[in-house]
């Protein structure tokens, strides 16, 4: 399907250069067609972009759903580590998706800010509630020291966001930043 090839080509370019710096000519070249042919598949550049937003957001949603399901029987501390490893693995193995998502998250195109960002914001809120619930459970089970679960969840995402930034910035990333989450998780344990 040509529309899929267009989408893949555009995704890479949007991730690398951003929405504004990517032209339809480049997308057409990378796809192996001529520029006007794109309009047979998408109404315009923005619609193509928003289609990719949906697609990439879904892969991210799926990674989270998978991580939450697979870790459901683990103890809270182990579960937090498992999820961090799972999501950071998603980042490392899908660098193009990661760049696209972080670009969208921090610096969305000005003329579609609300539209493109809404599903990602909802996703983010769900994740923070899920992580807060795990912290809460850990505190109830007296595995973690008592604290605000919401604050702890935000600190958790602080670390995860930093991880994603460094994956983007350092191509020869050595992945040992995962040490950070180990320290973080262990430090909350009541010993």
């Amino acid at each position: 399907m040509t529309s899929q090839k267009i989408k893949q080509a555009a995704l890479v370019l949007f991730a690398e250069k951003g929405y504004d710096a990517t032209t339809l000519s480049e997308i057409a070249d990378k796809t192996g067609i001529k520029k006007p042919s794109i309009y047979a598949h998408y109404p315009g550049k923005m619609e193509l972009f928003l289609d990719i937003v949906d697609f990439v957001t879904e892969t991210y949603r799926a990674a989270w759903t998978d991580a939450l399901e697979k870790s459901i029987d683990l103890a809270p501390d182990e579960r937090l580590e498992f999820i961090f490893f799972a999501i950071s693995s998603y980042y490392i193995t899908n660098r193009t998706y990661l760049s696209f998502l972080v670009r969208l998250w921090l610096f969305p195109p000005v003329d579609c800010e609300d539209k493109a960002l809404l599903p990602l914001q909802e996703l983010s809120e769900t994740h923070i509630k899920n992580i807060a619930a795990i912290f809460k459970q850990g505190m109830a089970e007296k595995i973690f020291a008592l604290d605000s679960p919401e604050e702890m969840a935000k600190a958790y995402f602080c670390l995860l966001d930093g991880y994603s930034s460094r994956v983007i910035r350092y191509p020869k990333f050595d992945f040992n930043y995962q040490k950070a989450i180990s320290i973080f998780c262990k430090s909350m344990l009541l010993t």
Copy 2:
């Protein structure tokens, strides 16, 4: 000085919309002059941008120099916390600079990537060496558990980068993410 007013106007627009989406017309409007007048002060859009890169990078360098100097007599654990607070304060009180810097750091304009990024990369390497040295000192003084100072420094920056991302994304940021660094620092202490 008109060139300073141009620079300030352009800085805000580049930070909010990015290099590609910002036009010289907008910069001129915001400055209160007409578009061609910009060329009396700067050779072109890119030169204006690179001038701002230098300016903002210098404010960031100054914030780090200040934080390092003021904390020189503190114990390693307290010093790491002090520096984190100092730099995160710089982020919070200079959100425009922060957006500009993070945008440049993660997604530089494609046609000036090396030129614009080099000073920031050098700065980043210096900072990581400085932080690693503090970790090393803490280990030598048997305040911290033995570990790789470089790895610990990277984990430290992981947290700091995540902090900056969240300052950008959440305007009503409640600042309690600083809890993260407290946990992080305390967890390394030999108790």
